[in-house]
Every structure is written in C-alpha cells, then in structure tokens.
C-alpha cells in the first residue's frame, strides 16, 4: 500500500528523460567564442597546477532536441576538473563574460572567508566583464566541487569537479580514477521553475495519488485502511507523494555532462580497481546510485576518508560527494544507474572494457510514499517498517495536528508554533541515522546510511562548549523555507565566538529531506549517542529527523549556511553565520 506502480508518464516522455545521444556542449562548440582555454577537442578538460585561468561564459547547448543557453566555464559543462595538490597554494583568476554578476564558490574547501565566493558575504561578486582572483592554500585532500553562488547560475550549468591529491598518496589506491558528476539539466528558465513553485508548489509533482491508487489500495488492504491512510495525510494537508519539488518533468539528468542516452563511459580492464568520485552537482535532485552486479566500497564522504564500507547502493544528496571503489572482474559492461529520489528519471553511465559496450539499464524502482515516520518522527520507536506503522495509528492524528506537540521527555518546553512560515512541527524527532531514507527502506539491497560513515581520523575537537538547536521549517503550500520559522530576509546572523566548539542540532520540521551546508567550517556528524562519526560539509536531514554535528568556529568571518536545494535557499532557507 505504500508502494505504487511506476507511473505511465515515463514512456511518452522517453526522449526528454533520456535526452539525446549526441548533444550537450558538443552541439554548441562551433559557436563558442571563448579564449584559448576552451579546449574544443577535449570537452572533459582537466586543469592542474597552481594557477588557473577560468572564464565564465554562455554557450548554446542541446540535450533534448531543443537548443538552450548554458552557463559554462571555459566552454565546458560541467566546468573543467580542477586537480589540486594538498599543501599547494593555488590562485584562480576568474573572468566573467556574462552580462550579470557571477561568482564561484569552492564547495567544501576550507579557506579564508574572502575567498569563499558568496556575493554579499565573502565579496561583491564578479561583475559583468570583470574578474576576481581567488588565492588560498589547500590543506585538505579529496573530492569536492565548485559552483556559482549567484542566483540560478548553478542550475544553468556552472558546476565543476575538484580533486585534491593527498600529499602522501591515495589512502585507498585504485588503478583507475574517474569523476562521476551528476546534475539536473533543465531546458526551462530556472526563474520560471521558481515562479511556478511559488504559485503552485506541486507543479512538478506527477506522482500524486489518484482514484486508481485508492482503488488499488482498497483492493490490497481493505477500504478501512485505505481510507484511514488518506484521512491521516489529508487532514494534515500533507502529501505523501511530495518527494521532490522539481521532477523529470523539468529535468534531464546528466552524468559528466552526458544524457542517459549519451551514456558517459569509463573504461577499465577486468580485475582493475576503479575509483569513482561521485559528486551531486544538482540544484534540486537526490540520486540513489547503484551499479547492478557490483559491490561498491565507499572510501570517502565529502572528500574525507572513511573506514571502507561495502554497499549495493547509496543516496547522494545535493552537494554531497562519495568516493567508491569497484572491482569489475569480468570482461563486460556495467551500468551506473542513478535514479532520482522521486523515481521520475535517472542519470546513467557505463563502465566498460571497451568503448561502445553497454549493459542493461534497470527499470526505475516503484515510486515510494513518505511514511508516517517521515511526518511524526520517533512515535514508532525507531521501527521504520511501513506496515507496522502506517495503518494502526488510531488517535495519532491529534499529535500530528499543527501546534499540538505531544508532551515528551525530549520535547521543547515551549509549544512549537505553526504559522504562515511553518506548516508542521515534529514534536518527537527521530535520531535514527541508520535509516537510508524514503524509497530505500527494505528494498533488498545493502544501502549506505549515515550510520555507516566513520572517519579514519579524530574530530577537530572532542570538546563541545555549547549547543544550539535549529529547526528546519517551511510551508510547502506557500513555498516558503526557513530556519526556525524565519526566512533569511527577516533573520539575524547566527553568531559564533572565534575558537568555540558548538554542537548544532538540526531538527527537520518538514516533509522534505534538506542537505544543509555550512560554509567555512566542517560539520562533524555525531551518532545519536554523541560520538563523533564523520566530517562532512553537507549533511542531509530527513523528514522528522534530528541530526547533530559539531562545528569548531576556527574560521573568522562571515559565512553562508543554507539548504543546498537551490530553490529552498532562494526561498529563505539561508542564514549568515558570523565567526568573530
């Protein structure tokens, strides 16, 4: 009853979802009038060294049969791979050939605040026709990325990978090393997407429950349960199909700038260890990644080495990175399959011994529904079994009513209010980091969870001087997103004292997963019992979940702190953090 059949809409939209086999940047290369850095013959350019010349410009592209203008760096989408060496001081001269201000933010890189690339906080932005030279020392290693921090330029293509080679060599060496950068391309103007969401927040949801679903559920579970389930959600005015604000109705999912039909291919010889550096450079999309038939050993998260863990599948939130090592033993092709969390589309690539080989592309999983646990948190005492919790909830609708927080040991003393900015509250959030999230629970595969991530080194500080709780809040109908019920425009900066060690507790009072990114400082994720687990730059918080991490305020200056879903950030889920 909680699983639905895959929707029929995928078929007539086949070309749009899969894209063109030949397209993208290549289709527009003849029109590119960039400087000599544009390497027309090797579109997947890699730049290395200490000094980098980057030029932000526009480029006609064609991913779906329709020509559009992308925002690119050196004529590339994604932007060129930047290869740095740990310990090097790099300088990057960025010239802006756009007609509007631009910027580049080095996501996950620890650097001085004026090098962070956030207009209004770090610097004034790079004016149209102007340039800015970034210069900083790279003290970390691993997989990161860079993107524009100006309006919707990230959505229109300004995103690129960064690989920092460790000073002492790779901890987990591999024979081959590929970046696999995922993103959500749209033929639409992002301003249109944003305006549509503001006017009708379910505009791109093509999986809403229908009369047919009701009949199906009635047939399977009986009319009483089907009605009861509808009653729970509908009374709350919450939608269990609200998995993604923007779906493949608007998006074509790309791997290293290639559509699923374009099929980016990484070559290997049977038996080799292949490192894949997954980067989710999407604006709004969570991907569930697997390589059917191959175990993936996850060796790094957000650039930081972890104790290796072998999985079949992992969910990668917007802006996260995961390094995995696979060892394809046979002389055959494997499909890298990254389906969007809402199961409306996928990015696809291939690992193959020779160019042109392909493997089967699996069907999309059935579209999942959010569970009651996603709405209410820990009421079920940790069990995430849909069937155990979905339909035996007599009386629980009371607790789920806005503002009616249940008395609970961990519940805040003050009742949590709803209002125009906040459409729901979670009185008893769940702390289960071992939940892979909606759509991945009990799917028969070994799925990575945050509980699996363990750093190989010590936390920056074991000390916690103070704790602050931030609620992730929003109003889906009004499409307003915020921290603690206050959008950025109405909020004071969060102030951290230089040198203090803060535990930030995030509680998600919404029905959506939010990838929360703190600039400038690491987010050192804790297990539910307060033990340090892993150092991250972007932390996914699932609906009704409570996640805690430590932040050592060792970076002076003004920093951005926001949800990395681009339209959530623009709609107010953003705060300034001042370290002084």
């Amino acid at each position: 009853m909680n699983k639905q059949e895959p929707r029929g809409f995928q078929l007539p939209r086949r070309r749009f979802v899969q894209g063109l086999a030949l397209g993208g940047v290549a289709a527009g290369l003849g029109l590119w009038r960039g400087n000599a850095m544009a390497q027309a013959s090797t579109p997947r350019a890699e730049l290395r060294g200490n000094h980098f010349e980057l030029e932000i410009g526009e480029l006609p592209v064609d991913f779906t049969g329709r020509k559009r203008i992308a925002t690119v760096v050196n004529g590339q989408l994604p932007a060129p791979l930047l290869r740095w060496r740990q310990g090097d001081t790099v300088s990057l001269r960025v010239r802006n050939r756009l007609k509007v201000t631009s910027s580049i933010h080095w996501h996950g890189i620890v650097l001085p605040a004026d090098m962070d690339g956030v207009p209004g906080l770090s610097f004034e932005g790079i004016p149209a026709g102007g340039e800015y030279t970034y210069r900083f020392t790279v003290n970390q290693s691993g997989t990161y990325w860079y993107h524009s921090h100006s309006r919707f330029q990230e959505q229109t293509g300004l995103l690129g990978p960064i690989v920092v080679e460790p000073r002492d060599g790779e901890r987990y060496p591999a024979d081959r090393d590929y970046v696999v950068m995922l993103n959500d391309w749209t033929d639409l103007d992002p301003e249109t997407i944003y305006a549509n969401l503001k006017k009708q927040s379910d505009y791109y949801n093509v999986g809403k429950r229908t009369v047919g679903d009701f009949m199906h559920d009635t047939h399977r579970a009986g009319i009483a349960k089907a009605l009861d389930d509808r009653r729970m959600w509908n009374q709350m005015r919450m939608d269990p199909t609200d998995l993604a604000d923007v779906s493949s109705v608007a998006y074509t999912y790309l791997t290293n700038g290639c559509t699923p039909a374009g099929n980016w291919t990484g070559l290997f010889n049977a038996g080799e260890k292949v490192q894949l550096r997954f980067i989710n450079g999407s604006s709004m999309t969570f991907f569930d990644v697997r390589i059917p038939g191959l175990k993936m050993t996850v060796v790094a998260a957000d650039g930081q080495a972890i104790e290796p863990v072998s999985v079949d599948e992992f969910r990668i939130g917007t802006a996260e990175t995961y390094d995995v090592i696979v060892q394809p033993s046979a002389d055959r092709a494997w499909t890298i399959f990254a389906q969007s969390m809402d199961r409306t589309g996928y990015a696809r690539a291939t690992l193959a011994p020779r160019a042109g080989m392909t493997a089967d592309v699996p069907p999309l999983d059935p579209r999942p529904l959010l569970s009651m646990g996603d709405m209410m948190g820990a009421m079920d005492h940790g069990s995430m079994d849909h069937h155990a919790m979905g339909h035996d909830m007599s009386g629980m609708d009371m607790m789920a009513m806005p503002g009616m927080a249940m008395p609970h040991a961990n519940a805040p003393a003050e009742p949590l209010k709803t209002g125009p900015e906040v459409d729901m509250r979670v009185a008893t959030p769940r702390g289960n980091l071992d939940d892979p999230g909606v759509g991945l629970r009990d799917n028969g595969r070994r799925v990575l969870t945050y509980a699996d991530l363990h750093a190989v080194d010590a936390p920056i500080s074991p000390q916690v001087d103070r704790e602050m709780t931030l609620r992730l809040t929003g109003n889906m109908e009004r499409y307003l997103w915020s921290f603690d019920g206050t959008r950025y425009s109405g909020a004071e900066p969060l102030r951290l004292r230089y040198g203090e060690h803060v535990r930030i507790v995030l509680v998600n009072d919404t029905m959506m997963t939010h990838p929360i990114h703190l600039h400038g400082m690491w987010s050192e994720l804790e297990s539910p019992d307060g033990t340090f687990q892993v150092r991250k730059h972007t932390v996914m918080v699932q609906p009704a979940q409570r996640v805690a991490y430590r932040v050592s305020a060792d970076a002076m200056g003004r920093w951005a702190y926001h949800c990395h879903l681009l339209y959530h950030m623009e709609a107010g889920m953003f705060r300034e953090v001042v370290v002084a």
Partner: protein, 304 residues
Amino acid sequence: MSRVLSCWIAACLGALPVAALAQSMSMQDMPGMSMPAPHDDHGSTTPPDDAQHAGHDMAVSALPPNDHVPPSPPQTVLHAMSPSQMNAMMQMDDNESIGMLLVDRLERSRSTSGDMATSWEAEGWYGNAIDRLWLKTEGERGNEGTQDARLEALWSHAWTSFWDWQLGARQDFGQGPNRQWLAVGVEGLAPYWFETQTTFYLGEQGRTALRLETSYDLRFTQKLILTPKVDLNVYGKDDPQRGISSGLSNVEAGLRLRYEFSRKFAPYLGVDWTRRFGDIDSMPGMPLVHANETTWVAGVRIWL
C-alpha cells in the same frame, strides 16, 4: 556532423581520467583498500590543541589526528550595507513580489431550458509571501447582457499555515442596480484539501451578505481532474431588483472535469445545478429566473 560526433564520443569516453590513471598507477605499492593505513605523518598540520580532553569520545580518541588546518582570517572585509543592497548583491530575495493570474472558469453554458450564456471566474494577485493585493471577478453574460457579476479588490494577509485574511471591497453589477460592499473574509486550504473561501459583506442600507465557496480536486490521472465545487450565498435583506431573497438565497453546485495539457492550460466539461430560494419572480421587467436550473458548460482554465 562527424566532427561533433567525434567530439562527443571523446567527451563521453572519459578523456578526463587519462592523467589520473598514470598518477594512480604509480601508487600500486600502497596498502590495499581494505586496510586503512594509519595516517599519522602530518608534519605541517596543527593538531587540535585540546585533543587530550577526549572526553566521551572513547571510540574515536584512539584515532590519528586529522589534517584540518584552520583558515587564516580574511584579508578584505565587505563594507557595511543595507539589507536591500545585500539582496541585490546576493541576487537572492526571499520576499520578492510576484504576481499570478488565474482564469479558473471561462466557459460557455447552456441550460436545460435552452438559455445560452458565457461565464467567467478569475482572480489575480500581486505581492510578497505575506501581503498581497487580490482582484477577483465572477459573472455571467447572456442574451440580455451582463447578469449577476461582481468584482472584488482585497488586501490579503497570511494568517496561519493555510489561511489568509482578506479585507476589501466588492462591487456588484449586471442586472438591477449596482451594489457596493465592504468585504472581510478568510481564504485557504481546509483539512482534506478543500480550497475554501468565506467572505462576509457589509453593504449600503444595512445590507449584509455571506458567501461560501469550496472546491476539491479529485485526480483520475495526473492530468484528468474532477473538481466538485459548491457556492452558497446568504443575504440579510431581500433585493428583488437583483433577484435576491433574504436568508439562503442560492446554492450552486458544479462538477468540472478538466484535462491539464499543462498545469497552466486545461479545457473542461462540466455541469452546474443552481437552486434559488425565496419568492423572487414578482418584479416586473426582470428576466425570468428559474428556481432550479441545470446548465452544461464547456470552457477552459488558464493561469499565468
């Protein structure tokens, strides 16, 4: 074409990692991937000064130090600026004003008694997330010209999660004398997803009115949507010139089945039942008003 093709194949075949391959091949003698090597040779890093106070981190206190180096302070600091300058620089404004125009009904109708008419119901708003200016209009135009039409201008203020206050004025026109009203109401989403408006009106000569409107979207597919809707008008005084009797004056129930070619464009077919109450047919010169009427409609729903 062939040049484009070869570029693309080069692009999609991983031209990127060639150098990386050469680099990683030289690392073959490193420990295997299943054996995380101790990582304790961080000559240039600054170990955390409080690493000794490992506290409750029993499990991790034995871990080697990390290679984190705090950044140096910024060399340049932005000048102070107003929030609006900041919004402009960030190109991020979570409270910007936007507008929407919804033509919910633009339809041709035919009643069972053979009367043809054209009706409309539209609303537009402009404003930020909390405060908006609304214009609403609804009416019907038949053989005798415009009948029973209204135009409202309202200030709307977000009140709760799902409800807005609305305050403004209404003008009735069409048959009979025009009427002006002050309006106060609530509009929003009731539990179970009922789009609902309730407005109280205060007019000249002590006239009062109450209007209730609610609708629901029932999906047969993602694009084929049936919308039942009920309108109910209550008046405090008779207004025979406009065909209005006091008390529950009329109830209109409709069913419209629309097909959303896109969210913004959906033609529909539907049926309306109108029931009028009270003795309202006594005024000379007024068009005949049926106490009960069934009308078939075909129209289009559009928004921008």
